[in-house]
Structure formats: C-alpha cells, structure tokens
Amino acid sequence: MSVSENNHVNAVSVQNVYKAFGRRPESIVKKLKEGATREELKSQGMAAVIDASFEVPQGEIFVVMGLSGSGKSTLIRTLNGIQPATSGTVEIFGQDITKVNSRRLRSIRREKIAMVFQHFALMPHRTVGQNAAYSLEVRGMNRSDREKKATEALNLVGLRGYGGQRPDQLSGGMRQRVGLARALAAETDLMLMDEAFSALDPLIRKEMQDQLLELQQDLGKTIVFITHDLNEAMRLGSRIAMMRDGKIVQIGTTEQILNDPANDYVAQFIQDVDRTRVLTAGEIQEPPVALLGSEQGPRAAHRLMRENQTSSLCVVNQSRVLQGVVYEHDIAEGVAAGKETLSGLIKPMPATHEDTYLAELMTAASEHAAGLAVIDESGKLLGVIPRVTLLNAMADPTPTSSVQTIYQEVAQ
C-alpha cells in the first residue's frame, strides 16, 4: 500500500463494539441489542461497553472521557485486543483485529500499537533502559540496535542518562516518562494511553501534558487518550468522546461539547470547567470587520470607520502583517489637522497566537478598548477578539436566573 493511500485510512475505526463480562457475554450482548439496559443485566454479568462507534483519523489526539466504571478503560483495551470485543468490529489502520488469529494480533500489536498505563506497568526487575527497549526485544531486534533506540526514546522524554537505573529509584513522574519512552521506542503510529497521567501530581501532570502535545506535534502520532479529568481531556483532545455507563453519549471538539452539550449529563460535567483555561484564542477569534492599509491616510480611515460603524481599525501592511490600531478620535484629529499619512496616529495593539488560552488574554483585553489581535508566527493578522466576544466565550450557555434584564419605558 502506498503512503498516500495509507493516509486515507483511519488509524482507528470502531463499529458497534460491545464488551460484556460474565459467564455468557454473548447472551448479555444479545439482550443489550434487544433493548435491555445495563441495570437489568447486572445479575448475569457486566456490560462494560455498549454499542461504541467512532473513528480516529491519523494524527489526531482522541480523548475518551468518563468517570470510573464508565467503561473507558475496557474500551481502550478492545482497541489492541487485550480485552477482545464481544461483538462489533475494531479496525486498526484498516485491519479488523476482531477477526485475526492470535499470532497475527500479536504482530499487529508489535508493529502498530503501543500503550501507556495508569500505574506505569514497568517491569521492576529490569533497568529503565531495558524497560524502554522491551517492545524491541519482543520483536527480536538485536541488543545494540535496541539499546540505541531505547536511549533515543529516553532522551526524547528527558531521561538522558537514566538507562542504567531501576524503576524503583525514580519518582512517579519519571517512571511515567519511562512508560512513555517504552511506547515511543516501539515507533508505532498509534499510541493508547490509559489514564496515563492520572496518578501524577498536578504540576507534573501539566508538564507531561505539554510534553505529550509537543511530541505529538513533532512525531505526528495518533493517540487515543483515556481520562476522567475533563480539563485534561480538553487540553489534549482534538476530539472528545464522553462516556457514561458503557455508552458514548457525545463525540465532538472541545467547543462543540462546551457550547452544545448533548444531554444533561454532559452539561453537568462541563459546568465546572474553567473555560478560560480550555478555550484558546484561535477558537473564538472573529474575522476583522475591516482592515486599514498602513499606506492609507486618515481620510480613508475615517471613511472606513463610518462605513463599518466601528470606532477602531486594525492597521496592516501589504503582506497583512499587523502594524497596530487606529482609534476614531485620533483619526478625527488627524483629519482636522490635514495629515496625509497615518504616522503618529497608529497606537499599539495587543496581539496573541492562536493557541493561547483565554485566561492569559484578560489583562490585555481590559487595558485596550479595541480588543486583541490574533497573529501567526510571521506577524500576519488572523483575526480579532473584541472584548464582547471574549466575555461571550467565557459565559456558560445554560441560562441562569441570577441576572435579570430590566427594561422600563420612561413615561412622557
């Protein structure tokens, strides 16, 4: 298969997957399909995953989010067949792993799928380096090659020089780095991460999340990430699947879930989310109403403002690089003074990048009436965030009774 063809295949494609535990899982699944609920079947066994379907395109971080007992850990284990699905299909890069024999399944696991575990699952009798090299050893790679690759992976996660230590000599955060290095050393395109950062303390967790995002950007891996922490889900996920009682209740981007929760359960969940630390400038930016070329004069600016009913304009040069902002009263003075150019009239404008969280924009927004500009690395203007937009984005879409709208006609 050629590379270009390969890119059209989803990394993961899950169709109607059920997973039940008990003496007769098939009969539990059959009853579920006939409409029985999880509660009704409790006496016969446990319906861990009920009718899950989703697709993960290559290069995406797909987060499955749910509380404990929601079936998310079982779901991720159906993806590499550690817990084979009772019914349904699981395709990994187009290959249905529910229909292959155990030998083939092992080779798919070796070549395509790596996994990171909640409690690290390192082998205490092996050194850090031997742990990182485990997947390569299983594949039968010779010692010097696998040691080299393991060392590279350890360097990548910031554990240079730790290869000879034992896992029990490391702190929790460092152990999980070893877990991550072990998964990276396997050089698989798909990585499954089961509550990988949940056992770490908050500071280390944030550090690991940042590191993961960076690694993903550099290496372009597809990641399926399980978590019970919505903030983590929203920080990491390109898309998020919300799970409850074995079912996926909603799949969507951070924005979709925040602004359009599928049901009360999801709505309840997102209530506590600090939107300012989840939403980014890129997600809420708007196209600017009008742009003023830096070579134009105050008259043109005045006309543009009048046409667009605005009191400020972003100024850009010919290659759309942001120069600053002009305000109505300055322009009015400029016109009155008969100025031909904008020199002296342009005021500084706060600018930020697309991936900045809203929390970091507050101070700048409060100081500048024109709001903020969003620019790319070369300084080109991508969009603007007026103050009202910022306020709106932070607001919970669910109506509240603590604010009344008062309107009284004044008697003539």
Binding site: A121, L156, L159
Partner: protein, 318 residues
Amino acid sequence: MIRAAETDGMGIPRVEVGEWIETGFNWARSNLGEAFTLMRNGLETLTEDWLETLLTWPDALVLSVIFALIAWLVRDWKLAVLTLVLMVSIIAMDQWDNAMATLALVLVATGVALVIAIPVGVLAAKSDRVSGAVRPIMDLMQTMPALVWLVPVVTLFSIGVPAGVVATLIFCLPPGVRFTELGIRGVDREVVEAGHAFGSTPGQILFRIQLPLAVKTIMAGVNQVIMLALSMAVIAGFVGAGGLGGEVARAIGSLDIALGFEAGLSVVVLAIYLDRVTAAVGDGSGVLTKLLRRSKPAPEQAQPKEQAEQQATAARDI
C-alpha cells in the same frame, strides 16, 4: 461385598475405601512393576551413588568451608561464620556421614519436587480449572499423616533410599506448587497487560515477566519444600533411608537417648543452614547478586533526581 457399618450409621453401608486403595496399589505393583524398578534404580543411583558419594568424598572440614563459602556468596560473612560453627558441631557429634546421606536425600527429593511442582504451579496459575483440580490433590498429599505414605511406598519401592526419597517427595511437593501459583498470580496485572500490549508471546510473558517477578515467592516455596523434605527425611529413616533418620529410628528402637539427640540436633543444624541459605537466595541480598549486577555493562552516569527533573523541563522547553 457391602455390609452395614458397625457404628450407629442409621443403615449407611460400610464403604471399603481402604480396601479399594490397597487394591489399587497392588494392581500398580503387579502391572507397573518395571516402571517402579526403573524409578527405584534411578533414584538410588542419583542419591547414593552420585550425591552421597560426592558429599562424603572431600574431607568433612573442607566441605564445611565450601558450605561457608556458599553462605558468604548468598548472604554475608556472618552467615558464613555461623555455617562453619554449625558444620563443625555436626563433625563433633560424629554425625557427618549420616548428615551428608540425609542432605543427599533432601537435595534429590527437593530437585525432583521442583521439577514437578514449578510447571504444575505455572499451569495452575494460568487456568482456574487446573488450579481447582490440583488443590485437593495437594491437600491430600500434605495433610495425610506422613507415616501413612510409608507403607504403600515400601510396597512399591521396597525398603531403602528410593522409598525414602519418594515418601519425602510426596510430602514436600505441595508448597512448591502452591507458592509458584501464588507467585505468578500475584504478578501485577498491569505489567502482564503491558507485556501483551507490546505483542509478547505467552512464552515471553512467562519467562521475561511472570517468572522473574514471581521468583521471590517461588524461592519462599523452595525454602518450604526443603524444610518439609528435611522433616520427612527423618521419618523416611523408618523405611531404611539411612542417614540421620536411620539413626533416629535406631535410637528409638534401642531407647538410646544420647544417639537420638545427637542425630536430632544434626537435623536441626542442617535445617538452620538450608533455611538461611535458601531464604538469602530468595531476597537476593547476597554478595553474589551484587557481583552479578556489577558485571553487567556499567550504567551510564546517572545524575541526582532534581537535576534530571530540570533537564526534563529544559528538554520540554526547547
């Protein structure tokens, strides 16, 4: 023929369990006689001709020093000194040859027991069904009064060392199986899952993950096997296994208190030595482990933790 039991069994018929078992043993003797003869000869050669000869070939003092060296390798010089004192005390009681005969019997019984017990334990850990089937057999072997085994063993193997070995084997096998099963079942589930997740074969999982991680528990089992073998080896003296057990049997027969205690104390001494050494092998605290670890390729220079955390942070910031 079925007749009513003589107790107040309310008409429950007398079941001749004992007779059935005896018939079973008799059948085995007359039909599998050659197999038992073969086993008998094998055990005899192994125990008496090889191990016992080997253990009695060097001078008692030389061997004592060798035992002390082993103790030093697996633990430390303190255990080595203790070993030397213990061994010399056996020589002083003039029980050295008997002690070596018993040691040979214990080692053979233990070796055979482990060859059987560890694979069975592994199977029992893998399958609940095997585990369920094996457990009552283990109970039977372990709780049946030890002397009861002696009679059928003698009928199959006749008087002598092999009978002693087999009787000992029956008694000391169960903890080997139990501890192996326990050890393997006790391996962190997530670690085994990790093995599967990276595509390990069942053999790789067993030999690279489960057995190495269960080794402490298995060694505790080995320790138990040896201790039980030693206690049974004395009883085996009654079926002509010789050694310290033979002395004890002789002392009982002739009401010889002095001989009884000298042989008995020698057993205690052997027990202490074997217990300490196997326990030390189990926790891997000895000089030998350190030497083995040192001989591996030297680990790269490791920095203190804080420095590495900083490095990790720096790596992220780049």
